[in-house]
């Protein structure tokens, strides 16, 4: 329940903080409707469309309606995939409006006790602390390796959890050990001729649970001729906070990251997670009202580049890349595509792999339903969207579904598991597949796979 006092405060803050020009900018033409997954999956309900949500936000500011549960609900059910933005001829920044509205509501509403505990743990206790992330991941590793996981799965205890979580538990990657995670070097030297000097945004989830993917990323960058700096002071990008109405924490994290990267003198800051990249690219908006930080944030944001973009820029697709013959398809990361505008680069890379038949999935640009923690908190809608996605994925006959964001990767794994296809179809992050292609190619040409353990990681350590 939102009390009338809370509603009054939320209304006042909407009036004070929402960008009214941006709300007016929506001229309600409806061009966004066909791109909105929740509009489509809700049976074409205007209340679950971008146009509807903007109208509701404006109506709250105008005092025509109260910010009641129904209004909150429509804002909660939005995936934040921002597919409405590139199709909007008026150029409305929907993502920014949503972020602000969610922040106002969340900061002024009393959450139920369990929700409070979960939010506090996730947003304050875990993600902003790299060491705690590592520790939590190592616990997962312990769970997976000790045999408890097998017992848990056999005993059926997972049935006590919501379906998404129970399935998610099965598809999580094998967690690395604490030692592996703590081994992150601060500098890596390019293989061969050095063409660029870049910084690597290692992320929190990516540098723990998906450590292997991060290692594959740096490997590819080295192969492409990049010196890589990986500053230790960097932290979580804050996307999860920003999208869940915790803007103040997001700003704090942003400042820490800007500080960590600003004196490195690099050409680019490379990310390999679509969601993080999009949030980092938006730091200038996040801090635009902060005179001390605005310019620094701009300088940071302009350097952000997705790994697939730099690989294309450095002609990586002309290198020998080979895989055993297979059909592959690509599921866009919404934020990589809709916010960073990166969609042809991953496709260029994938199509350049020898042995691969690339089949474009119908509606590859439609959100998979992962969306941060959306698939856990909005399980029903998320699974409906995923089922729709899997119909299109299956129609490609692909054995490999490639993604570019950890959330999408897990969600596609979830989809494969739900369809009972885990023996014949795999989901993989694009950099992992590219590294696999590099190795296969080198194996067939020289009979020798690149030795992944014996490289410059150790030599290059500056710490």
């Amino acid at each position: 329940m939102t009390t009338s006092k809370e509603k009054q405060i939320i209304h006042d803050q909407f009036k004070e903080k929402m960008d009214y020009d941006e709300l007016l900018n929506c001229m309600r033409c409806g061009f966004c409707l066909p791109s909105c997954p929740t509009y489509i999956e809700s049976g074409l309900k205007e209340s679950h469309s971008p146009r509807g949500r903007i109208a509701l936000m404006k109506a709250v500011v105008d005092g025509i309606i109260e910010p009641d549960e129904d209004v909150e609900r429509t804002l909660e059910l939005c995936l934040g995939c921002r597919a409405c933005e590139p199709v909007c001829p008026s150029g409305v920044k929907y993502g920014h409006l949503l972020e602000e509205a969610r922040d106002i509501i969340n900061q002024n509403k009393k959450h139920s006790l369990p929700a409070k505990v979960i939010r506090k743990t996730v947003f304050e206790g875990l993600f902003p602390h790299p060491n705690r992330m590592k520790f939590a991941t190592s616990l997962l590793g312990f769970y997976q390796r000790s045999g408890i996981q097998k017992i848990a799965q056999k005993s059926g205890v997972m049935r006590l959890f919501p379906e998404t979580m129970a399935t998610m538990e099965k598809v999580l990657p094998k967690a690395p050990t604490l030692k592996e995670m703590k081994n992150r070097p601060e500098f890596l030297e390019a293989y061969g001729k050095r063409n660029k000097r870049v910084a690597f945004f290692s992320g929190c989830l990516m540098d723990t649970m998906f450590l292997e993917t991060n290692n594959a990323t740096t490997k590819l960058l080295q192969l492409a001729g990049c010196d890589i700096v990986i500053p230790k002071q960097q932290t979580c990008c804050g996307a999860l906070h920003g999208h869940s109405g915790e803007k103040a924490s997001a700003k704090e994290l942003a400042k820490r990251n800007i500080q960590a990267f600003e004196e490195l003198e690099v050409d680019y800051i490379i990310t390999n997670a679509g969601g993080c990249g999009a949030f980092l690219v938006d730091y200038d908006h996040l801090l635009n009202k902060d005179p001390e930080w605005r310019e620094r944030a701009e300088a940071f944001a302009t350097k952000i580049k997705d790994v697939s973009s730099i690989l294309v820029e450095m002609n990586f697709f002309k290198k020998p890349l080979k895989l055993t013959p297979q059909v592959i398809t690509y599921q866009d990361s919404c934020h990589l595509r809709n916010v960073q505008g990166t969609y042809f680069e991953p496709r260029t890379l994938l199509k350049s792999i020898e042995g691969v038949t690339y089949v474009e999935m119908k509606e590859a640009d439609r959100c998979c339903g992962s969306a941060g923690i959306y698939n856990i908190v909005e399980s029903e809608m998320s699974m409906q969207i995923l089922d729709h996605k899997m119909v299109n994925a299956k129609a490609t006959n692909a054995k490999t579904i490639v993604t570019a964001n950890p959330g999408c990767l897990l969600q596609m794994k979830l989809g494969i598991e739900r369809e009972g296809l885990s023996h014949s179809v795999r989901a993989i992050h694009i950099v992992d597949l590219l590294l696999e292609a590099v190795e296969t190619a080198s194996l067939t040409t020289s009979g020798n796979v690149i030795n992944l353990n014996e490289d410059k990681n150790d030599i290059g350590l500056t710490s």
């Binding site: 001229m27 509701l56 001829p89």
Partner: protein, 470 residues
């Protein structure tokens, strides 16, 4: 007002999952794409078949509840804004293509079918449904019929009206009637089909439509002619027609429009010229070739700076797609975007373009002009800010003068958007008081309780003509 007792009756018809009256659900159906209009309905209902619709309409008639049939709410005349409250009827559950009849070349659809989906479905069979409003990716066929929508191909192929062969409609008393049929010729009685097309939901609720299809043209070419002079571009339009060539599409975009469209579409449109004409011709390869060459010569003769022909179908498609986004793209300039729909005989297009520019100067407002120049249908558009009352007043005056000028040139106040609330005060300028009386008599005969989209088309007051400066 809908009482609890009536609400229960609505729920009995459609089920509680298809009847909404929360503030949130009402708010999101309180608007369409028309700027500055918003009004809350009392409830929203989603029927699944014609019998549901008939029961709903009967109930509304008995309790004098206003009905607003709504497609996707993309119209620009406030036609689906529930200005007098009442019940908004949504057709998302009535969105089936019922039949594509390849022998009679017709397609039969429910009103909620999205225009683009219909076009795709028939084109897969090598058939062609020409009406293509800019909103076709979102708009519904039911909405198109009610507003008699036009589009980019209107010049050669006409508008929605020209493709509606038969309708099934629920009258305000709840009767279900059929008009027309799959017939090429039919002169039996009054032409109710034509009466209902463009009736803006004021006479009936359309529950099914049979539309005419034609064979798909063999080929198509797209051309962009660049001008340093606005009026030279406009003269070219009249000149092409006068040379007995009817292109499929003949669109006009001025420089400010080009800039915003390019900002959105990023396809390399020229933004340093005063105007462009986007020209398409379709048909057999030799005719297209011949016509395009003739058009090119005319453009150059009328001082086009250059003429470019799209090299690929993708390039051509990008050009027309960009043009379709023009209105919404203009919203980038200012918070409020007011677009109008003044139409003149195509021989007068240069005079009209000139008049619009003079009027813009006179009232000190920025007017961006684009539109279907080939059929005389221009969209002078003012980027403004509804919060600036003083400017809004000047905008209003400028538009009045534009309409007045259009009528003087033998034109009309709307070519394809409909009257709705936006144009209602000006309708009498076009029809005269006798014309209004005749239309009102029709309305009263069909809908004596005035439940069908009340407040639309007929204004409470007619606007006085402004004095037009010569």
């Amino acid at each position: 007002m809908i009482t609890n007792q009536v609400k229960q009756k609505f729920i009995e018809i459609v089920g509680s999952e298809n009847y909404f009256d929360s503030k949130t659900e009402r708010l999101v159906y309180s608007y369409d794409a028309t700027p500055n209009f918003q009004s809350m309905p009392d409830a929203v209902i989603v029927p699944s078949n014609k019998d549901d619709v008939a029961s709903i309409v009967k109930l509304c008639n008995a309790y004098h509840i206003p009905i607003v049939p709504r497609g996707s709410g993309t119209n620009l005349c406030a036609g689906t804004c529930p200005t007098e409250g009442g019940l908004v009827i949504i057709f998302t559950r009535m969105n089936q293509i019922l039949e594509i009849d390849e022998e009679n070349l017709t397609v039969t659809v429910q009103p909620g079918v999205i225009t683009q989906d219909l076009i795709n479905a028939v084109e897969q069979r090598g058939l062609f449904y020409p009406p293509d409003p800019s909103s076709m990716k979102i708009s519904t066929i039911g909405g198109n019929i009610n507003e008699n929508s036009g589009g980019l191909r209107g010049l050669k192929y006409g508008v929605t009206r020209d493709y509606v062969l038969a309708l099934e409609a629920v009258l305000p008393n709840g009767d279900i009637i059929q008009t027309g049929g799959k017939l090429a010729k039919d002169v039996a009685g009054y032409d109710l089909t034509r009466l209902f097309v463009g009736s803006e939901g004021t006479l009936c609720v359309i529950t099914e439509a049979t539309l005419k299809l034609i064979p798909m043209p063999e080929t198509k070419k797209t051309m962009l002619a660049l001008y340093e002079d606005l009026e030279a571009a406009a003269r070219t339009v009249s000149s092409i027609i006068a040379n007995r060539i009817i292109p499929t599409t003949l669109e006009f975009l001025d420089q400010p429009t080009l800039e915003v469209v390019e900002d959105f579409a990023k396809i390399g449109l020229p933004t340093d010229v005063k105007a462009v004409l986007l020209i398409e011709q379709d048909g057999t390869a030799d005719i297209v070739e011949h016509d395009m060459e003739k058009i090119r010569t005319i453009c150059l003769k009328e001082q086009a700076k250059s003429v470019q022909i799209a090299k690929t179908t993708e390039e051509a498609a990008a050009l027309t797609a960009a043009r379709r986004a023009a209105l919404s793209a203009l919203a980038r300039l200012k918070p409020t975007t007011i677009l109008e729909d003044a139409t003149v005989p195509r021989s007068e297009i240069a005079k009209m373009v000139k008049a619009i520019n003079e009027i813009a100067e006179k009232y000190n407002v920025k007017i961006c002009t684009f539109g279907h120049a080939g059929d005389g249908n221009l969209h002078p558009t003012v980027p403004t800010d509804a919060r600036n009352e003083e400017e809004m007043e000047r905008v209003e005056k400028a538009f009045e003068e534009i309409f007045a000028r259009a009528i003087e040139l033998g034109g009309t106040i709307t070519g394809e958007h409909g009257v709705g609330v936006m144009k209602a005060p000006y309708l009498e300028w076009k029809l005269g008081s006798a014309g209004i009386s005749a239309m009102k008599a029709i309305k009263e005969a069909f809908d004596p309780n005035n439940i069908m989209n009340p407040g639309k088309v007929f204004a409470k007051e007619t606007r006085k003509r402004v004095v037009v400066s010569k």
